[in-house]
């Protein structure tokens, strides 16, 4: 129990306090920066665990002939091809400044297999997935934006002003308003909403989040909340 729970909690407490103090102590000021690098390296090493999980899940699927096991083969083969092409920089010319260093070239040119996979498989796939949001946003607007109460009404009213005020439609609809009422033109109204209501609302959220982060961090550092911590048992 001591090895599995007590020591980890103390590690967290001490690590956290050292970082906290490093923000104030001049001699150890740069510790936070070193941690970012340390974390990146650990995360990069932990990719081995991720790859293991990915392989295991897909191999199990194939060996059990689960529904869609053919797609598991696709996943595994594209994974293997991309990984090998990338790690060994297959077909990548060295950099022009250091032609003698074998691996000095960048692997992202579409001439190399890795760059090709990135350019013609990953980019279209991920950016189209991203673009699907335009459709979902439309369906959400149709289904969920109903003025059931004052709060919902405010939400959709603001969305309305911003949507119209941020295109040429705003100019067409309210551009005729005289100069003394120019504040009511949709494009100006949308700026006003952003600078006043949005600023106030976002500030309240930001300050709240800052307090939430502070409290959560302190709960971890003081050992009040241990539920993020597992048992660390063997699996």
């Amino acid at each position: 129990m001591i090895l599995r729970r007590t020591i980890p909690i103390w590690i967290a407490t001490l690590g956290g306090f050292v970082m906290l103090i490093s923000a104030f102590g001049k001699p150890i000021e740069g510790m936070g920066e070193s941690f970012a690098e340390v974390f990146n390296v650990i995360a990069a090493i932990a990719f081995v665990l991720g790859a293991g999980s990915l392989l295991k899940a897909n191999l199990t699927k194939i060996s059990r002939r689960d529904a869609g096991w053919g797609f598991a083969i696709v996943t595994l083969s594209t994974f293997a091809v991309t990984l090998i092409a990338g790690i060994f920089k297959v077909g990548v010319n060295p950099s022009r400044d250091f032609p003698l260093a074998t691996f000095s070239g960048k692997q992202t040119t579409p001439e190399s297999p890795f760059g090709w996979l990135y350019e013609y498989a990953m980019v279209p796939l991920t950016s189209t997935m991203f673009a699907l949001l335009a459709f979902y946003v439309a369906s959400a607007a149709f289904r969920a934006f109903r003025a059931k109460n004052l709060e919902a009404g405010l939400l959709l009213g603001t969305a309305f002003i911003v949507l119209l005020g941020r295109t040429f439609a705003g100019v067409i609809l309210t551009g005729w308003l005289p100069e003394w009422a120019s504040g009511l033109r949709l494009e100006n109204l949308s700026v006003y909403v952003m600078q006043v209501f949005n600023t106030a609302g976002n500030r309240a959220i930001i300050v709240g989040i800052a307090l939430g982060v502070a409290a959560t961090s302190l709960r971890i550092l003081l050992g009040v909340d241990r539920s993020w911590m597992g048992t660390g048992g063997d699996r």
Partner: protein
Amino acid sequence: MTRQGKTWLVMCGVLAALLIARGLTGEGLGRVYVKKVEVSLGSEQVAGAQGVSQTIWKEVPADKATMKWVEWNQVAPKEFFAARAANPAQDSISLSWPRTIGLWLGAFFTLAIMSFLYADNIAYKLAEATVIGVSAAYWMVIGFWETLVPKLFGALTPTLVSKLVLPSLQPSDVVQQISMWVALVLGVMMLWRLAPRGGWIAAWPLAFIVGVTAGLKIVSHVESDLMAQAAATMQPIVEVVPSATGGTDWYATTWATLANALVLVGVVCGLVYFLFSVQHKGVIGGAARVGVWYLMITFGAAFGFTVMGRIALLAARFEFLFDDWLWLIDPNHLRS
């Protein structure tokens, strides 16, 4: 055949017919052209910054080169058309089969993902399986070459890294070396999970990460969010706007004052809404309600802005289909 099956058939048929029709008219459908570039490099000794002589590689004529290779750079189709018109036998610019196939594959994947909007189907499943495989490996490769090699190996095995990857590698200082050793040890502890026994040791690096994150985030959030935002709100409500003639512009003053007052009310009421240990009744309840109104307006504004971004993304995908693949439009004058 089910109704859905019939719809799929009709959609695919229409798409195929349109493609064939497009392919038979004008310049046809998307192709990629590349220009051959022969790289020939020669070395030269020059005096470096600290007086130490350095080897510099430069472009030299092909007969004097010690290192040579060929690169293929993508060019606009109009350059190919021009070159072909000038000399039909030229071979400096040519059709790139790998990239043209890639372009068509990209178009297929774009349509495959979009087909998910209609219903789950085999094309989407194929696209999904591909994107998981490619992207998981992609980030592992990036992690290896951009983090592990320059940071970890660069600090622990500098000779090897500078020989094979980065000859201009700067020597790392003691702090970097210590932190990379720490990272290595913690990383290995993390991987201990794969060992048959003693997997609990992996909880230690995790605890370290969580603890340090907590210590770091509390500082950055309290400093730049809590204190800075509170300070930004602490402003005079009355804001006198001078007019062009030297007096007071009462119209602008009223608006500015109103805006300041509204911001103050919003921040205060918004914060009251987030109070947990007080029941939302009476004055507190009223303020919290106003706070919710502000939050809703904020969300509405965020929604409006986000729609804008999402439509831009969709537009970019359609431009890819219409411009790069189908050659229907040519906004960047790449073909004419």
